[in-house]
Amino acid sequence: MGYALNFNLIWRHFDKLWSGLLLSLELAVISIAIGIVIGLVLAVWYVSAGRVVRTIIAAYVEFIRNVPLILLVYLVFYGLPTVVDIAYSAPTSFVVTLSLYSGAYLVEVFRSGLEAVPRGQLDAGKAIGLTPWQRLLNVRLPTMLRITLPALSNTFISLFKDTSVASVISVPELTYGAQWINFNTFRIVEVYLVVTAMYLLTGYILLFALRLVERRFRAAR
């Protein structure tokens, strides 16, 4: 064996990991925010649309869900600019990718959430004279959001882990920081132990916090 653990070099470069962790969280938060908008719009559209729109939305969802994230990251960062006249930084390109990615998963979440809203609530809304828009905004969506909150927090935590893929296009998030330390100090085991602990700890803190939020807003049964 003969491998002596020495964490000194990790602590000396800890700022790389810390700023990486913050960037990972930032990427995940922005992406899920955009993803929620995509998911909401498409889910509401889906349940009221005709066959053509449904097919298009389903195609988007199935395409994203069945292709590796790393390929989507490459496609958006290296592929798209060769055919469309756009230029963006690696972090922006990754946010675009992860937003489209989370959007596809959230369409499914919200769609099943909308179907789970009890019929009686909509009828009650109709009975007190709410317009279709009011029924959607004040009855359907709030109830649906309460129902889907647990799935939403799971998606967020899994997105936080998915931000590690941003390292392949040199976005300086947590995994990139780990690789930097790996290649520059060769304290390999130490850096991955620390990074593993950071991912786990952050993940469980997020989980705990989100469960508290869920309990606060739990749908009345």
């Binding site: 491998y3 590796p68 390929l71 989507l72 931000t163 590690s164 995994t175 690789q179 085991v189 991912y199």
Partner: protein, 216 residues
């Protein structure tokens, strides 16, 4: 452009074969390890249950990419020299095993307690209870999510390209490096992955419907 891509097809096919080979190995190894550990989690003594719980929660709590780098760069540091191919298979297997453990726990947990009590009452041993009573019923609950989860193995296998293994993902990147036809090749790659995974998830959906007569 098309001729260049046609020229690259045999090379991409080789990469695709490697992707399938990695996925197959991972799926088989993780199924064996996952079922054993899952049984340990459900029926084992307390310390074993804790060990499996910690294993599963740790593995599922970190990104697969970190796991792959940890195994690939970390093992040589502690004196274990695995070729990159097997390091990648090991890392992906660890990840998938944790998933299989959870599928198994869910499937076995959904079998009413009365079933194993009845089996115990007629004098079946532990092994007999599992083989004749629990597993045949749990199997139908286990299969659909497990098949659906195979897509995770196929998708996760794309990350082994980062270790310089020429799977489909890496083959695509190499062809792009020579032809500069980025978009068509990424789309072609996406289509290939999509075809495999969509077939798997449809199979899973169909099985679920087939088994939907079972009620809790």
């Amino acid at each position: 452009m098309l001729t260049q891509i046609a020229y690259a097809l045999p090379f991409l096919a080789q990469g695709f074969a490697l992707t399938l080979w990695v996925s197959l190995l991972v799926v088989v190894f993780s199924l064996i390890a996952g079922v054993i550990m899952g049984v340990g989690l459900v029926y084992g003594p307390m310390p074993l249950q804790w060990a499996v719980r910690i294993f599963s929660d740790t593995i599922r709590g970190i990104p697969i990419l970190v796991l792959i780098f940890f195994v690939y760069y970390g093992l040589p540091a502690v004196g274990l020299h695995l070729p990159s191919f097997w390091a990648a298979v090991l890392a992906l297997t660890l990840f998938k095993t944790a998933q299989v453990v959870e599928y198994l726990r869910g499937a076995v947990g959904s079998i009413p307690k009365g079933q194993s009590e009845a089996a115990m009452a007629i004098g079946l041993t532990f092994r007999q209870r599992l083989t004749y009573v629990i597993f045949p019923q749990a199997f139908r609950r286990f299969l659909p999510p497990w098949i659906n989860g195979v897509t995770d193995a196929v998708k996760g296998s794309a990350l082994v390209s980062l270790l310089g293994i020429t799977d489909l993902m890496q083959a695509i990147n190499q062809v792009i490096g020579r032809t500069y036809e980025a978009m068509p090749l990424y789309l072609l790659g996406a289509l290939i992955y999509f075809a495999v995974n969509y077939a798997l998830s449809q199979a899973s959906r169909r099985l679920e419907r087939r088994f939907s007569f079972i009620r809790d």
